[in-house]
Amino acid sequence: MMLKLRQISKVFRTDLIETTALKHIDLEVAAGEFVALTGPSGSGKSTLLNILGTLESFDDGDYELDGISVRGMSDRALSALRNEKIGFIFQGFNLIKDYSLFDNVELPLRYRHFSAAERRQRVMDALALVGLAGRRDYHPSQLSGGQQQRVAIARAIAGSPRILLADEPTGNLDSLMARQVMELLESINQQGCTLLMVTHDPDQARRAQRQVQIVDGQLSDSAIYDPLQRTVA
């Protein structure tokens, strides 16, 4: 099993209030699976994705990533796990505007023990896969939104991760670019990489092998969430 969550809970606390973001979440995702995570705004989708990406800690329960329990891991071990196993694709791309495309894609590889030659090869392969090899020295501001998201995908896959976590990857794109990005993600998934995608778009969610819907911090596995109806069918 690629992802295995058991009774995961998360509470955000301030001086005045406590907000329960996730309640006793159980979830399993098999290797190579394409899962869409849907739900209304504020339902806990992003919190769950951040916990899956180890960007956020959880209060209760246990989480195994590719057979490794992340609970109590040191910063160093957690960073290495994130670097080697997970590729992130953010809604806002999160590219560094001062760096070239090459440097942006190379960034996570800098924290692996790859030789310079291997790093270069991986970056060029990833850029070629997203169709931007010829623009390696461009800067993000010289690209369209769709192209920037493709660079972000190249950065996510350059380290050959076991799973891609995508948070609304087409949220900032027009429909044509969104379709191109989805096709790219599907082709990566078809090559064996597990894909877990947060989306509001029912059309995109339907392209997944499985849809997981989250409402008020609780999962409704395989249920189909219709954002127009705002109810669980």
């Binding site: 951040n50 990406g53 960007l55 956020e56 960073s79 670097n83 080697e84 806002g92 960034l107 800098r110």
Partner: protein, 440 residues
């Protein structure tokens, strides 16, 4: 090397994002370090060991030699009487020993000399009245002639290099004659250029800051001719200061500094035993009635024991240190602004797999750049300050120089302060909430 180049590139980009806070950080750090370095230069030379290879074997004996009972809150006199020194010199345990004091005299060249300077009026000069071992004990280099063959009285003087040039315009003057307060003396030796700094053989009354004396005169001659100390002297009985040749030798008239060289631990223990035994003997004849343990003060401890260091110097050092701390706090605050401007990138790097340890390693390039730039500004600032002070205080010009260890310490301090200035802001930036930072 390739990774270092990458870190330097990342650092350069981070500087470009917030150039003003970075420039101000460097400026404030440099000013703090520059002022600190200038003060540290003086402090270093004041604390410098002028004879590091033998200072541990040079000792200043102290004995509670007051002729009355003086036990509570009563320290041993820092200067000795002639008769005590002669007694303490009876032992052959020290390989060398020398008593000394300072005085002043008017000096003029002998009128019938053929030298062009012979018609110069008498000039006031400083005297160190001492014994022959002084020169070997403190490694005083002799350029011409020889020091006195023994400690007997003789009308022979030794000139410092500067005094020979001042009086004769040259240094090859051995055998020539001069007048000291209208008495004729022959020059037996001329020293090579030499200055012990700090002059630890003379720790009283700021003597450690002064230049080498002009003329060296045998101790017995100094007493015969009634040269009274121009520094510290005291009497515990009815000794007449004007009768140094008689009362000075036999009564409790204290004006002598006294040093012994004890070459190993056995000699040091043996001489301590000798002093204890001597004190017991003195008590039997009614002298030195205070309960006391004679003390041997190592040259390395002499300033502390004599409380000789000026309190102003210590106060100024503390003020400079505080100024550096204030500069560090300000630089740290400015540095925090720069890291906040870079927080998004730091969070992104962490999200993509950089551990805090790896980011700290990356930070070292930043620290090196900051240290290099701060050093580039701080060193000239410190150098100008030091030179400015030595122009105002020419006698202290010997302190206006840097050696390898001083420069090394400055580089090390700059690296440490640069790391401190970078550490807290970087840690704060690396502990941010990743998901929040990346969503912003």
């Amino acid at each position: 090397m390739e990774q270092l180049r990458y870190y330097l590139k990342v650092n350069w980009i981070s500087i470009r994002r917030a150039p003003l806070p970075y420039a101000l950080t460097i400026l404030i750090l440099s000013v703090g370090l520059g002022v600190f370095f200038a003060n540290a230069t003086f402090y270093y030379w004041l604390k410098h060991d002028p004879l590091p290879h033998k200072s541990a074997n040079l000792f200043y004996p102290l004995v509670k030699s007051q002729p009355f009972v003086c036990d509570e809150g009563c320290a041993a006199p820092k200067i000795h009487s002639y008769r005590d020194v002669i007694s303490l010199q009876q032992s052959d345990i020290p390989s060398k020993s020398a008593a000394m004091y300072s005085a002043g005299a008017y000096v003029r060249l002998v009128p019938n000399t053929t030298d062009a300077a012979s018609d110069l009026p008498a000039v006031g000069m400083s005297l160190r009245i001492t014994q022959r071992d002084f020169f070997s004990m403190f490694e005083v280099p002799v350029q011409h002639g020889d020091v006195w063959p023994d400690n007997t009285a003789r009308h022979e003087v030794i000139l410092s290099h500067d005094a020979a040039l001042k009086l004769f315009g040259r240094t090859e003057v051995v055998g020539e004659r001069l007048e000291l307060d209208h008495r004729m003396f022959t020059i037996s030796a001329v020293l090579a250029p030499w200055r012990m700094f700090p002059r630890l053989y003379d720790p009283q009354n700021d003597g450690y800051l002064e230049a080498t004396e002009d003329i060296f005169l045998p101790l017995e001659t100094g007493y015969d001719l009634n040269y009274v100390s121009n520094r510290q002297s005291s009497s515990f009985d009815d000794a007449d200061y004007q009768k140094l040749a008689s009362d000075g030798r036999t009564k409790a008239l204290h004006q002598l500094q006294f040093w012994v060289q004890l070459d190993d631990a056995n000699a040091q223990q043996a001489y301590a035993d000798f002093m204890r035994h001597w004190v017991e003997e003195q008590k039997k004849v009614g002298r030195h009635p205070s309960a006391n343990q004679p003390q041997l003060v190592a040259m390395t401890d002499i300033m502390q024991t004599f409380k000789a260091q000026s309190q102003e110097v210590i106060a100024f050092a503390l003020v400079t240190l505080l100024f550096l701390l204030v500069c560090l706090c300000n630089a740290c605050h400015l540095s925090l602004n720069r890291f906040i401007a870079n927080q998004y990138e730091i969070s992104l790097r962490r999200a993509l797999g950089a551990s805090r340890g790896q980011l700290q390693l990356q930070l070292l390039a930043d620290v090196c750049c900051t240290a290099g730039l701060a050093l580039l500004l701080a060193l000239p600032l410190a150098w100008l300050t030091v030179q400015g002070i030595s122009v105002l205080l020419p006698n202290q010009a010997v302190m206006a120089s840097w050696n390898g260890s001083l420069l090394g310490s400055m580089v090390l301090l700059t690296l440490c302060t640069s790391y401190l200035v970078t550490l807290y802001p970087a840690l704060r930036a690396s502990f941010g909430n990743l998901s929040l930072q990346l969503k912003a």
